[in-house]
């Protein structure tokens, strides 16, 4: 009897961890191990590549290009990223909303459409064959586009960094450090960990960006590892083993970056430490206003206005191949499918992320260890781009057991698994800021877990959960590499449809479909992240988004502490 009770107790404590462990094992460990072990076990490949012997493997050119370009993009994104974070977190000015929207716009813009827009621009008669074309179809163009694309994530990390340099630190430095330049230097040193974090995230993101590598990289004859892997998986000669060898390079590069980031985060925690007050928001000086508007306009032009206008011009002007100026049934179907795939997968990813991060908050030591391990595993999965995960899924789920390949279920699984790390990264800080005393006090007073979630955690976190959902939804809506590898028969998502229009020279139709899809995606996401929290938690305690009302949650925590 007592044994059974002990078992139930054990399951109560470890059950969620066991469940997450199983999810991680099925989604990541099993397929990735099977794929990445191919260099050692070549017999595990589906077919020995239509008769080809596996090539020598590592292309030193692609490897060097990837490391160099990612590092350049990682360094380049730090100054504008920090500036954007500063302007959004520390300064009050009229363009803050626009800057925020511009960054969201960049995040929303799939890199293959960003590239396509700029390609249309430099193909214009007055630019064709000129310096602009040479710049775009070269290292400068690729690094510039990677940097623009990386601004969205960098500014999120930078905001967190500026937030971490709390008001106490500001006040202390004002009292103890008289020279303004030394105060600025001190702030910069405090921001070093977050700069490192921005750099590493960008290096990983840039080395894994498929859209730019597949378009500009391929056409500029600048082979990049991510595209070389895709070619090994999707073109003749098919070579899973060499793809696995190349994948190791990307995985190790990203893991190294993540280790650096973890070390920096620890340093940051030690330097900042303790409880912080939220820093004040000051008005902008004249110089800063000019800088702020330059940054905002620059981001808007490079990341959205110019490529979108180019796409729009193409959409209106080019009706070649007898296309009507309307989206056809297949296009609408692609949008509908992507809406559903992305919605469901984003919900799953955010729920799983919340469960894992919630598990970390548990008091029990074992639960925390397992949760920490899972957190690491999912962080490590950031090292695995969609192309690698897709290849791993083809091998793992195309046998007699777990025969899911070619079904919508596998695509949803892949979408969820690939975007779980993004959701975890995004929700990490809000969950970490939740004071554990809140839940523990309620637990001591006999409040059940369900009620604690309902009354305490959900109201405090709902807005952040919806934002995390929005981020995941937007990226999944236009997702390309996983969709391309795993889409089920008759249910091709939007990315596949767009690429197929591109392949068949229907550029006008492609541009039209892309623009309509962007509009729909934007409308759905905006409705979800603006309306849903208002409807569900109303003017409740959690208002972390705006500057004026963001004090509520921390002040609640302090009252309980």
């Amino acid at each position: 009897m007592s044994g059974a009770r002990r078992w139930i107790g054990f399951m109560g404590i470890c059950g969620p961890s066991v469940l997450f462990g199983a999810v991680i094992a099925v989604c990541f460990l099993y397929p990735l191990t099977r794929f990445l072990m191919l260099p050692l076990m070549p017999d595990w490949a589906p077919l020995p590549g239509l008769g080809a012997a596996s090539g020598p493997g590592l292309s030193s050119g692609a490897l060097w290009n990837t490391v160099r370009l990612s590092t350049e993009a990682g360094l380049l994104v730090i100054p504008p990223g920090l500036l954007a974070g500063f302007l959004l977190e520390r300064r009050r000015w009229r363009g803050a909303g626009l800057l925020s929207a511009a960054l969201w716009g960049i995040f929303l813009m799939p890199s293959y459409l960003l590239t396509m827009g700029w390609q249309i621009v430099v193909a214009a008669p007055f630019l064709a064959g000129g310096a602009a074309g040479h710049l775009l179809y070269g290292e400068a163009g690729i690094v510039a586009l990677l940097t623009v694309k990386g601004l969205a994530f960098s500014s999120v990390a930078a905001r967190a960094g500026w937030h971490a340099v709390g008001a106490d630190m500001d006040a202390a430095s004002r009292v103890h450090v008289p020279a303004a330049w030394r105060r600025a230097w001190l702030t910069l040193r405090l921001l070093l960990p977050v700069s490192g974090s921005i750099f590493t995230i960008q290096v990983v993101a840039a080395s894994q960006d498929f859209g730019i590598a597949a378009t500009l990289g391929a056409q500029a004859r600048m082979p990049l590892v991510i595209y070389a892997i895709y070619q090994d998986l999707s073109t003749v000669p098919l070579d899973f083993t060499r793809a696995a060898r190349l994948s190791w390079v990307l995985v190790l590069l990203a893991l190294a970056a993540l280790v650096v980031q973890a070390v920096l985060a620890r340093r940051s925690a030690m330097a900042g430490g303790g409880h912080r007050h939220r820093p004040g928001v000051a008005p902008c000086g004249r110089g800063m206003t000019v800088l702020a508007w330059s940054l905002t306009v620059g981001i808007l032009l490079a990341g959205e206005v110019v490529p979108l206008l180019a796409l729009a011009a193409q959409a209106m002007g080019d009706t070649g191949s007898g296309d009507a100026l309307l989206i056809d049934g297949e296009g609408w179907r692609g949008i509908g499918l992507s809406l559903r795939y992305a919605f469901v997968s984003a919900v799953f990813a955010v729920l799983l992320a919340a469960l894992i991060l919630g598990g970390r908050m548990r008091a029990g030591g074992s639960g925390r260890v397992v949760a920490r391990m899972l957190l690491w595993l999912t962080s490590a999965n950031m090292a695995v781009p969609g192309v690698i995960l897709g290849a791993a899924y083809v091998i793992a789920f195309n046998g007699r057991v777990l025969s899911l390949y070619g079904t919508p279920a596998l695509l949803i699984l892949a979408y969820t698994a690939s975007h779980l790390p993004i959701a975890i990264r995004f929700l990490d800080a809000p969950f970490a800021h939740l004071h554990r005393g809140l839940g523990e006090a309620a637990r001591v007073h006999g409040v059940s877990l369900a009620r604690r979630v309902e009354r305490i955690y959900l109201p405090l976190l709902f807005r952040r959960l919806t934002w995390a959902w929005g981020m995941v939804f937007v990226t999944l809506f236009f997702e390309l590499p996983l969709s391309e590898i795993l889409y089920p028969a008759g249910s091709a998502p939007l990315g596949v449809k767009l690429l197929s229009l591109d392949d068949t020279l229907h550029y006008g139709a492609e541009a039209r479909l892309a623009l309509v899809a962007m509009g729909i995606c934007l409308a759905v996401t905006a409705a979800a992240i603006i309306l849903v929290p208002r409807l569900v938690v109303g003017s409740g305690p959690e208002r972390m988004g705006g500057a004026g009302n963001a004090r509520t949650a921390p002040s609640l925590e302090q009252e309980n502490a």
Binding site: G51, G129, R221, S234, T235, R340, A489, S491
Partner: protein, 346 residues
Amino acid sequence: MHRLRSADQDDGTDMTRVRVASVALLLLVLWCLASLTGGRGPGLVIYSSVGVAPAIVAAYARETGRPATVLTMPGGMLLARVSAEAHHPRWDAVWFEGDGGAVALDRARLLAHGVVPELDWTPTGRDLQPADRSYEVTGFTLAGVFLSRRDQGHAPRNWRDIMGAARVGMANPALSGPAYPLLAGMLALNGGWPAGQAALRRMVAGGLLVGPSNPSVLVALRVGRIGTAIVQSAAAIALARANPDYVVDIPSPAFVLPAVAAVAADRPAARQQEAASFLRFIMRPDIQSQRMRQPGAERLFWPVTARPAQPDLPDAGGIVLSHPDPDIWGPRQAEVTGWFQQEIMR
């Protein structure tokens, strides 16, 4: 404490909202899952790189009342996907261009034998059909004709011209289905494999542009980056007819690019029968006529059966045709395209 007390007062309303929202979310997720995974199955699944496939598959589904789904993708990707799925295929039939690829798939034991119908073939058509009836040739185009801008001074007219010409473009055989038979033909014309490599290296030295697909090569031609594109006949002829700025030269010899259809070996017998009936459907005279009436470039193929005749193209009898032997060049495809990727695309 004041805040917590006010929160307590609103507790009931808040909790109702949260519960309603949770139920709504759950229902929405369930509806999405049901609509994505449930419903009518895909039926007969056809992987195709032939542009006309969606229209023909739709006609098949309409006529038979049985569901059929087509996945269109570039030829190279189709071969890769089929070999990735290997002996657990999700496809019932494939329809793509290039009999070399079909021979390679057949050597990997992925194609069912003896399911191809016996028809009233033309002499060329009969030559193109494989002895083991592992695939069916549904028609042919030419792998590489010369599409030049009219404003270009000396447009290349034959293979010797093109080998020495500057500003020439072709598609990458790793990605584009029609490009491999073209490459095979060019190599065969210059001494075979590996002797023909030297000719390709000379073309690279002369500034050969390799685009990822036929359309991208056409774009390069349109914007003036190249003066001549070596592309598939259907695309070239369609563009030249629509736009008088371009002129098509059919070289001698011209390389035959057969479109082939085949049935998966590792599918249940009933599905194989269904796929075989689709292969017969493609070749029915009325359906071939329908294929010849399609808009765009898709209709511009030469039939391999006596009926119907192609009204829109010159008689194939007047063209010197060369057919790179798929039994030789098919199994070599991985090696040749691998070399091309490493040496030419570098």
